[in-house]
Symmetry: C3
Subunit: 460 residues, 3 copies
């Protein structure tokens, strides 16, 4: 594919409305189109105000907005259902909540920000002295303008979150407190999008959809996953299958694993994705096994991305990789992010607004994911059918004519593939050894396959 | 154990006279008591003047002083006994020795320092011209005030060691030379202290007791081993067995190995210890196998010690590890020291005095050994009984109530243990991976065992 | 061998005319004699002007000059012979070639430098306008005084190479072009020198002999290989066999491999050698397997050479190692050079003259090769016959008498060998672990063998 055909491809796909199908090698370019970037920003803007939690109508509204771009299979799991060591909790919904001062003014008002209410707060209606009330108030003194995000999912409680500046203005006296919520038997809701390829081996991407009114954590992940899914739908002849799950943190992945335990063997690789739109470089948190194909594909894509990146060893905390990498599953499942949630002050506060998202970084994350897909699709082992000595490329029309000192880059790709296609080394191995771009090597393998000098190794 | 209870423990154990028993987790604190430090310094001071050699009454006196603190089983092996490739040598004793000048003055006098006589010097009585005498005199020209330590164990010879300054003052003329020694059939003497635990697997600590009138090499090692043994006696429910051997260098360990060859399989780990009281940082010289449990336990203890330390790969010379790591035994046996004997000029000279010993460094060595014991006692593999997904800690009362951004340290310990208790990883593995202190992880494992979420893996 | 006997050896062997035999341990010294260095420079000077190519009389003349020093077995393989995936090409010879301007002056003249003609140019006789001629002219604009080396072996074509300065002087008009060459059925020629040792395992050294009128690439390699072969002939009791092949690049090694495929199992190690006489440090390009005995022997020799050196991982391009390391052979075959061919501008140009060769560097390369031979000859595994505890060296007369602080170097060699001669570790392993010179350890092993404490392990 020449540079010219790439730019024309990019121009053709300013948005998803055109119906043309593409090759998987075109996916990164397709994903980098301006129209695709706009779709991600629009989706984040629309999802932002929704009051999400681990259950309830906020999750359902979120899934509905995602469905503008990809069809989801929705799952509703009843409260009380046993899922692994856990139980699906009651469903929480909230209509309004406030704290009124003696003058009847709403000094804390859910209508202004859903972060003001501690997630899963039980219904409250009463009057409290300031001192009593304070036991239920949460602030961040170091960032006095920000509202913290707090929740109490498994311990029935209630509370309000507010800016420390506003907290300090509260005068002594009695306050009227109303939380018009419900915590009742209902359902845990999650959505799933599955694209069948020519094999059942699948890449699983999981994003959490339970955080209310915050962007980088994790509407950025939701947007990238949704658009990747939408773009992948356009790819012809997908070899792998792809599964995208939109679930609440922890209880969501536990529920999913509980219901899909028999099929996890199909997961060739996967990752959770969050905090992926900020200005930081990438981080890949390795799978628990540490050197699986998904680890190596992501590292290869990162090397070739031109962006700064870090690699972290697996740790048994973080996001949903905790569950997928619990020892009883130990799946090849990592986590992709830019700035780690604990490493930016705005995380889990009202300061995690759309302004934290850098459009070019969000777009870069989507292209990285597309590159990971390209590598997983292209990777495999081949056999050099003429392994004794170098085959004579000249007689097959793939060699320069007048010998000079420096082999052409293209020839070197051929030599790497011929030498290491011994049944032991995959294209990803060869990319790692040679440091040449995966895509170039994949193309070179294609040239060699046409000559019959290279054949795919069965069963890889 | 809170900081308060730790200080109270430390106050309670100012010396060994009280009879209270302790938990193994308390051992490092117990060992750090001021009274224990004083015992070590007293022991060194009392042992210092004795004229030790690889056999003889000096060794017996040394063992007697150690027996003030711990009961020893003494072994007396007759001269001529075949021990591996060697033969127990004749026993050497000395009463007096001197060189008198023409004026009848003792210009070299054994009564002033036992270092003046080359170890194992045969009896001599005669008159020698200075030129003849000089062939039997040893000095250190670079350190003209110090008397060197020399010996000739397996080649019958005699000689005197003296300060080079004094050597230069010797005038021409005839000298009277007397060495009132005996080199006769007798015994090689060593002592042993064995503490039986609930299993026969043992930690073996070996210190050499043959060096005359020198402190860092190796009364420091003798003192730390003796007090560790004394303190270990107080520990309740020891899992491992412990063996301390007080032996002469080389021939001592060869003799011990010869007599105990059938039982060396019980040695789970061990080390020789010397030069452990000077101002230097620690060095762990690895076992020949390099990555055994004792290597990893010592490295963990060193990491957590807060002191500087170095790691050395095994080399087939040094101290008694040479014998324990000879290829026919290849035991998991290393060597612990501060400044290596060849790396400080005072070594093997009269300048290795009590002044070289820093009390806080000697105390630090004992605490390090206690920490090694703690790690070996606590190490083992466990099984997470709920390996699929994270178990719900909240319903077992071991989770925070209101969710905030940063997991508490204690929780992270639980997560590490749960995730890696898969039958493959030991607590020491988890400490290495997580970089959390071993003791904290051990405590966390205890919390999980109470909930039934963790069970010990049989046979580890 | 004392320093004295070494210098006397060096003086005795100023050239190869004397017939004395030597021990393999003497080989590096023997090779460093001044007379040997002179032979290498003379050989290069004599070979320099010859118009070599991958076939033809230039190769035959080259082999004849080598035969002044070592007898070669010559092989003549007919054109058209199938060799692996290739076919032996027609034989190329050339008598004269020129380009004459309108005034009848030879503006390009083969008689001045054989590099002026593109290798394998077909016969040409004709008149060309400058514009037509230019399509057959090659220059190096960045180095306007140098003539490039170009060839067209497998695509029938013709051309001239010239200095860019001369190219720029060419005036418009008609030129007479003559290439008096022949490209006809004939033979591919190569030479081989084989020295049988006590085992059939062999070291294979391959140098290419097809480059016309250039020195560092690769008359330097030819000279070092020839003199190493000549010196090796003098060595008594060689354990290994040695094979030197003098072949054209690519098609030569392919032809050799095709004809010797059944015997490549005997190749214990090998390397191609080129660009070995310039002022750069050494580079060892590892074998494809990366950690074979030849890799480790060369690295050991390099460490001990005192020269700067680099190690390169295998890459599937370069010199004849490409063929020996093709996946169907995957032989333990590397490449030894100083400055890599692509890393000095003079490579493959007329500027690669005898002036590029530094006599002391060429000599250093020969000594390095001799050291590699020494290591391969000396390497092996031994068994300590007294593996439990250290054997008592004193009673065998190999220990110091009066014990002092620092073990003598010689003793330390003994300890290393005794400790690691456990059937697992070779002398080369011990040299790597201990960092002591291989030769010293080999000598120490000899001392121990005399005492019976060490015996060779069968089959190594």
């Amino acid at each position: 594919m020449t540079t010219d055909s790439l730019s024309s491809l990019k121009e053709s796909f300013q948005d998803l409305s055109e119906e043309r199908l593409i090759e998987v090698a075109e996916l990164p370019t397709f994903c980098s189109a301006e129209g695709i970037g706009r779709e991600m920003l629009d989706l984040i803007a629309d999802l932002y105000p929704i009051c999400r939690s681990i259950t309830g109508n906020g999750v359902r509204q979120t899934l509905s907005l995602i469905e503008r771009l990809i069809p989801l299979q929705r799952h509703e799991i009843p409260s009380g259902t046993a899922v692994l060591d856990w139980t699906v909790p009651k469903e929480w919904n909230i209509r309004d909540a406030y704290v009124k001062n003696a003058r009847g003014e709403r000094v804390i008002d859910f209508q202004k920000s859903c972060l003001h209410v501690v997630g899963y707060s039980i219904p409250v209606r009463g009057r409290f002295q300031l001192s009593e009330l304070k036991e239920h108030l949460f602030t961040i003194p170091e960032h006095p303008d920000w509202i913290p995000f707090r929740y109490s999912y498994y311990d029935e409680n209630w509370g309000f979150c507010l800016a420390h500046h506003d907290f300090e203005k509260l005068e002594d006296g009695e306050y009227e407190v109303v939380i018009d919520s419900s915590l009742e038997n209902g359902h845990l809701t999650y959505g799933e999008y599955y694209l069948r390829g020519s094999v059942e081996d699948e890449l699983l991407i999981s994003v959490h959809v339970d955080h209310p009114a915050m962007c980088n954590d994790n509407l950025s992940g939701v947007a990238v996953a949704t658009l990747l899914a939408a773009c992948l739908t356009r790819v012809k002849n997908r070899h792998l299958s792809y599964r995208f799950v939109f679930i609440p943190t922890t209880i969501g992945s536990i529920t999913w694993l509980s219901r899909n335990a028999a099929n996890v063997g199909k997961i060739k690789g996967g990752f959770s994705m969050t905090c992926i739109g900020d200005s930081g470089g990438f981080t890949w948190k390795e799978t628990r096994r540490g050197d699986t194909e998904i680890d190596r594909a992501v590292k290869c894509a990162l090397r070739e991305s031109g962006e700064e990146y870090k690699l972290w060893e697996f740790t048994p905390f973080g996001f949903d990789e905790r569950q997928f990498c619990s020892p009883g599953f130990n799946l090849p499942f990592g986590c992709l992010f830019r700035t780690y949630s604990h490493h930016y002050a705005e995380n889990h506060t009202s300061a995690d607004t759309p302004d934290l998202i850098r459009p070019e970084k969000l777009a870069g994350a989507l292209v990285l994911c597309a590159k990971i897909v390209l590598i997983l699709e292209g990777n495999g082992k081949y056999l050099n059918t003429n392994p004794k000595g170098e085959p004579q490329l000249g007689k097959r029309g793939i060699y320069r004519k007048i010998g000079g000192p420096i082999p052409q880059a293209h020839l070197i790709h051929l030599f790497w593939i011929l030498n290491y296609s011994d049944g032991e080394h995959s294209l990803l191995d060869i990319a790692e050894k040679s440091k040449f771009p995966f895509e170039e090597l994949w193309k070179a393998a294609g040239v060699l396959r046409e000559t019959g000098l290279l054949i795919p190794l069965e069963g890889t």
